[in-house]
């Protein structure tokens, strides 16, 4: 488990760094898929099997493909721009903000030594059967609200994306 954690963490962090630094947008999305796979593998390592499968299905299967479609619809994918065209104005202040937040997070974790040293729980496990039962009994109201939200998001996305096309007719 120890070696697996370090290898997967390295893959995940490299995927995340490449996803926000590469010039070519398609390469960014491919790195993002690597990052999503790393996170899913972490879920499997933490014995949350169902969440890992959901991560692969939704993020890699839906979100990454959606982003790829958006890139193809909006941008020329050649993307050989200089650093000035890639970075927004005042990028150094954004970098400083992220750096300060990173130091604060690291300090907060470092300060609580007892919690940070909590050993891994070998007994943890989850079953899809239990999750399904809970979704259909205790969590049925949030589940239905989620269905309404997803329908609203679907209709809203179509309306927003097609607004100007409909106005032209």
């Amino acid at each position: 488990m120890n070696a697996a954690f370090w290898i997967l963490s390295a893959i995940t962090v490299i995927g995340a760094v490449l996803a926000v630094t590469l010039r070519n947008l398609v390469h960014c999305v491919l790195s993002l898929i690597l990052f999503f796979l790393g996170i899913a593998a972490h879920y499997f390592l933490l014995r949350a099997d169902f969440i890992g499968a959901v991560q692969i299905l939704i993020y890699i299967g839906a979100v990454a493909v959606l982003i790829l479609f958006a890139i193809m619809l909006t941008h020329n994918v050649t993307g050989t721009e200089g650093p000035r065209e890639v970075l927004g104005g005042k990028w150094w202040s954004g970098l400083a903000t992220a750096g300060i937040l990173g130091v604060v997070i690291w300090w907060a974790i470092y300060k609580d030594q007892i919690a940070a040293a909590l050993p891994s729980n070998q007994k943890a496990q989850s079953s899809v059967l239990e999750i399904g039962r809970a979704l259909m009994s205790e969590w049925v109201v949030p589940f239905e609200i989620m269905a309404v939200l997803l329908t609203a998001a679907l209709i809203g996305a179509v309306v927003i994306a097609l607004e100007e096309v409909m106005r032209r007719r």
């Binding site: 949350a48 890639v86 909590l118 943890a124 999750i131 809203g156």
Partner: protein, 103 residues
């Protein structure tokens, strides 16, 4: 030899900072959305980590994760639809060029 909780917290914090860095420095609106997805995943990872280390008998963390992932999917669909609408209007997806609120 098992991994202590702190390692996962540091990993998740690092991923969040990487995502924030990308969201604040990049110019392309689609990369900003990608960076927001990275931050979202770093946050969700924490839920599962705390479930594994502390509350593995209760399913609340898994339910929250499922709902958070669904909301993230809806959010990215709306975000990309907005990016496409803005591209039609401005012929560009640079966040620096979106400076007017109306028209």
């Amino acid at each position: 030899m098992s991994i202590p909780l702190g390692h996962y917290l540091v990993l998740s914090g690092l991923l969040f900072v990487i995502g924030l860095c990308g969201a604040l420095t990049r110019k392309n609106a689609i990369i900003v959305l990608i960076a927001i997805e990275i931050m979202f995943n770093a946050g969700i990872l924490n839920l599962i980590v705390f479930w594994h280390y502390k509350e593995f008998a209760v399913l609340t963390a898994q339910m929250f994760t499922i709902f958070a992932i669904s909301i993230a999917a809806a959010e990215s669909a709306i975000g990309l639809a907005l990016v496409i609408a803005i591209y039609r209007h401005y012929k560009s997806v640079d966040v620096d060029e979106m400076q007017s609120l109306k028209g």
